[in-house]
Every structure is written in structure tokens, then in C-alpha cells.
């Protein structure tokens, strides 16, 4: 199993090494996001908005963990479809779980790379220290990684089932979730009717927890527990959904059409 997972991971890392577009996806867009929000933060500080707006930068850095981990999974598989290589993978003796694991690990590596870069830039440009409160925020980052995996697996299942029609979800799905996750504002800002829905999403607990930790220096265990409990539920649901979709795809012959005809 280890050799096959490593082989798949190698395949995706080779791609990142060669493809400027893929490498840019790790660096360019997150950095642009950070710069935009950094300047907004600087401006708001200049017009004497209270200090906690620095959390906007925390929001940008944390959000990228979720976005990178989800996108690494979906883009890896979509890349195989675009390159007509998907059948080579599916006719190799690779378990679906091994493919999942490899893409999830890739998501982890990608999130690690971009979080490190953004944290350093935020420190240099805006004097924002994501580790100012120690490493208490690390579990929240782990939670976002898990949620990103769940969302990536869910989106990948839809892409296998619906093909090109679902590809827009690779970029669209995270942005459907972002407004509900209270990334840049407290949950209380959302309309009352939306708040129960937002509480059903693990990332909401993460961003509430991040703001609370940056303010008080400690992690609220209830928020952390809520985030991880929901992460596990979403991961399990995504895995079941993927297995169900894959069965449907095999029944309807869609898998074979991804490049054979």
C-alpha cells in the first residue's frame, strides 16, 4: 500500500514541479489574497477601527488551509481526467482508498507550504504573528485540513459522476461555504436564520475559535470539540457518498468514458 500511495504522491509532486500554473496556485492567489486583506486591515487601522481587525489576516491564512487541501484533491483527479490518464490509474492495482490517501497527503503538503509562506509574509508585511499565542491554533488548522479533505472527496465524487458539468465546483464549492463559515466576521453578524446552518459547518467553529484564541490566548475546548466532531461526521459522510457515487459510476459506465471513447 505504501509504495502505491508514494507513487501517486510522486506523480502529483512531479506535476507541481513542472507546471507553473499549479505552483502559482500555491503561491500567487493566496499571496494576492493576503495583500488585499492586509491593505484593507492597514486602512481600517488608520481610520481608528479597533485592533481586532488584525484577525482578518488570520482569516485569510486559515481559510487557505481549507481551500488548499480541498482543491489539491479535486484538481489532482480532474487533472487525470483532462490528461486522459484517469483510466491508467483505475486499471492499475490501486485501491480507491490509496488514491484518496495520496491526494489528501498532497492537500496537507500544499496547505503546509502555503500557510508557512503566508504566515511569514503576514509577519514581515503587517507584523501579524499567527504564532503569537503559541501553537494553540494548530488544532484548528488540523480541523480545517480535515474539513478540506471531506469537501475535496465530496466534490471529487460529483466530478466522477457528472464530469465536466461539475468541474466548476472545484473553485466554487469553497466559496459557497466561506460566507457561512464566519471567516472574516463573528457568527453573530449572520442573520439569525442562517446561524443554525453555519453551526453545522466545522469551519465556523474554527474561525470563532481562532478569534477567541487570538483575543484571549487560550483555546475554547467546546469550539475545538465541535469542529472535530463535525469534521469526522463530514469525512465519514463524504467517504460514504464517494463509495455510493463510484458504484453508480461503474453501473452506468461513466468511468470508462473518462477517456476511453
Amino acid at each position: 500500500m505504501g509504495m502505491r500511495v508514494t507513487a501517486l504522491l510522486m506523480r502529483y509532486l512531479y506535476l507541481y514541479r513542472r507546471s507553473v500554473a499549479r505552483a502559482m496556485a500555491i503561491v500567487f492567489w493566496p499571496v494576492v489574497d493576503l495583500l488585499v486583506w492586509g491593505f484593507v486591515t492597514a486602512y481600517l487601522q488608520r481610520i481608528a477601527v479597533p485592533e481586532p481587525i488584525l484577525f482578518l489576516l488570520g482569516g485569510v491564512i486559515f481559510w487557505d488551509v481549507f481551500y488548499s487541501s480541498a482543491q489539491a484533491i479535486t484538481l489532482s483527479v480532474t487533472e487525470e481526467i483532462w490528461g486522459r490518464n484517469i483510466l491508467n490509474i483505475f486499471v492499475a492495482p490501486v485501491r480507491v482508498s490509496e488514491l484518496m490517501l495520496a491526494t489528501c497527503l498532497l492537500g496537507g503538503l500544499r496547505a503546509l507550504a502555503s500557510t508557512t509562506l503566508l504566515s511569514i509574509l503576514a509577519w514581515i508585511l503587517y507584523a501579524f504573528h499567527v504564532t503569537a499565542v503559541g501553537f494553540v491554533l494548530a488544532p484548528f488548522l488540523a480541523s480545517l485540513l480535515l474539513f478540506g479533505w471531506a469537501m475535496g472527496i465530496f466534490t471529487m465524487a460529483l466530478i466522477l459522476r457528472y464530469g465536466q458539468a461539475a468541474e466548476a465546483l472545484i473553485w466554487g464549492m469553497p466559496f459557497l461555504i466561506q460566507p457561512l463559515s464566519a471567516v472574516f466576521y463573528p457568527l453573530s453578524v449572520l442573520p439569525a436564520w442562517l446561524q443554525p446552518i453555519a453551526r453545522g459547518i466545522p469551519s465556523t467553529y474554527v474561525f470563532e475559535g481562532m478569534r477567541s484564541a487570538l483575543r484571549q490566548g487560550t483555546v475554547d475546548p467546546r469550539l475545538l470539540f465541535g469542529a472535530f466532531a463535525l469534521d469526522l461526521a463530514y469525512l465519514a459522510a463524504a467517504a460514504v457518498f464517494f463509495a455510493w457515487m463510484l458504484e453508480k459510476v461503474r453501473e452506468r459506465g461513466y468511468l470508462g468514458r473518462l477517456g476511453l471513447e
Binding site: 507513487a7 506535476l15 487525470e80 486522459r84 486499471v91 459506465g253 476511453l260
Partner: protein, 252 residues
């Protein structure tokens, strides 16, 4: 006592809604044979290959490859078999060596370098290891796909129109190599092609499909003789135009 066929298909049916793509198909392929699965577009060849590879689940019927049930032992079968198609590519932005190394490892080979060099030499594309796959000509690409298909020294090989994009010279070289490997290693090959001349040269046995059903099976010479057509190509055209066996015979 006859040996168990390497590929055994019994009463295989696949329906997609109201469309029956494969209709009660039965055939067997003996060890070391090159078996041509033939028929016009839409006859059910691709669906049959997908069913044999476990990419699509059958509506009913049984498929055994290497004595194992595809539904239950798919991974074990895939470990001992391989696949190449003119319609499937290796990632263009990886080098040849990277692509073949990745697939060698997927098939469990720890140090594939020697094997990769050997296969590139066999298919007459030595020295391309460091080239980007996307920079290869279509002839080189097809041969690279075949190198990938032989990486794990498969006992069964599924080849879907492997010479479709090749010029006659390269296609001939590829056929020669395939024949040689098949003779030397006893590989069983299930082969699809629309090039009937190629099928006559290469295949030990052929099966013609029409509308998902088997309409002719035998050696290329036998099926031509049975149908009273002048050649395999004429038989192919008759089946493509007239559909089922009865009308083919009537037209002959």
C-alpha cells in the same frame, strides 16, 4: 483435458437504461492467444473491455480472468494484467522516466530503471527518458503507452486500438514487437482494431460483435470462409451495414 481459458465470459449482459450494449455474450480466450474483439462503432467492444477491466459492472453474467472472478478479485487480476488504448495518455507534463517510474511503482516494482530502459529499447524509443511526454510524437507516445502496458510483465494484456495513430511503418514495428513478446512470454492479448489487415496478421482468433451480440467467432481465415466474404474487411463491412449474422449471410 482442456486448460481453463485465461479470459472466460459467460452470458454477459450490460444494459444502460433501455439500451443493451452487451447482450448475452460468451467467449473464452486461451493462454498465449491474441484474440481480436471486432465490430463496428457501437457494437459493444469498448463496453466489453470496460466490463473485463472491472470499470463497469455487468447487469448479469460472469467474467473470469486468470481463473479469478473480476467482481471479487479485481485488484489481484489488475496486478497481473495491463491495458493500453489509443484514447488514453500518460501525463504530458511529466518526463517519460517519471511516468514509467510512477506506474512501475503502482505495479509494485521497487527499482524499475533497468526494466524501463529495456522496454524503451524494445519499442525502439531509446534515449527519451528525460524528454517530456508531451513533446513526443504520436508514434513515440503510442509506443510509450505500450511500454507502460508491459512494465509489470503482464499475463493478460488489453489493447484497445493500440496502432490507431501510427503510420504503417511504426504500426508494423509495433505488431512485430507484440508478436515477439506474445511468443516469448506467452502473454494473452485481447485486441481491438478497425484495421482488418492488421487483425489478419496478428490475431489467432477473432470475435465479431454486432449490437452487443457475438455474430462470428473463429480464426480470421475460418470466419471469412464461413461467411463466404472475400476478406475480413468485407465481412466487417457487411456486419457494419447489415447488423446481424443472418443478414450478413444473406448478403453474402
Amino acid at each position: 483435458m482442456t486448460a481453463e481459458p485465461v479470459i472466460e465470459v459467460r452470458d454477459l449482459t450490460k444494459r444502460f437504461g433501455r439500451v443493451t450494449a452487451v447482450d448475452g455474450l460468451s467467449f473464452g480466450v486461451e493462454r498465449g492467444q491474441i484474440f481480436g474483439l471486432l465490430g463496428p462503432n457501437g457494437a459493444g467492444k469498448t463496453t466489453t473491455i470496460q466490463l473485463l477491466l472491472g470499470l463497469t459492472t455487468p447487469t448479469s453474467g460472469r467474467i473470469r480472468v486468470l481463473g479469478l472472478d473480476v467482481a471479487r478479485h479485481r485488484r489481484a487480476i489488475l496486478q497481473r494484467s495491463n491495458f493500453s488504448s489509443a484514447y488514453v495518455s500518460l501525463p504530458s507534463n511529466l518526463t517519460v522516466a517519471e511516468n514509467l517510474t510512477v506506474f512501475a511503482r503502482l505495479y509494485g516494482m521497487r527499482r524499475p530503471r533497468h526494466r524501463i530502459g529495456e522496454l524503451l529499447g524494445l519499442f525502439e524509443i531509446p534515449g527519451v527518458e528525460r524528454s517530456l511526454t508531451g513533446a513526443l510524437s504520436s508514434g513515440q507516445m503510442t509506443r510509450l503507452n505500450l511500454c507502460k502496458a508491459f512494465l509489470n510483465d503482464p499475463e493478460v494484456l488489453f489493447l484497445d486500438e493500440p496502432t490507431a495513430s501510427l503510420d504503417p511503418d511504426i504500426a508494423d514495428k509495433v505488431r512485430t514487437v507484440l508478436r515477439r513478446i506474445q511468443r516469448e512470454r506467452g502473454v494473452t492479448i485481447l485486441y481491438t482494431s478497425h484495421n482488418m489487415r492488421e487483425v489478419e496478421i496478428l490475431c489467432d482468433r477473432v470475435l465479431f460483435l454486432s449490437k452487443g451480440r457475438a455474430v462470428r467467432e473463429g480464426t480470421p481465415g475460418d470466419v471469412v470462409a464461413q461467411s463466404q466474404a472475400g476478406s475480413l474487411e468485407e465481412l466487417f463491412i457487411a456486419i457494419a451495414r447489415d447488423g446481424d449474422l443472418r443478414s450478413v449471410e444473406e448478403s453474402s
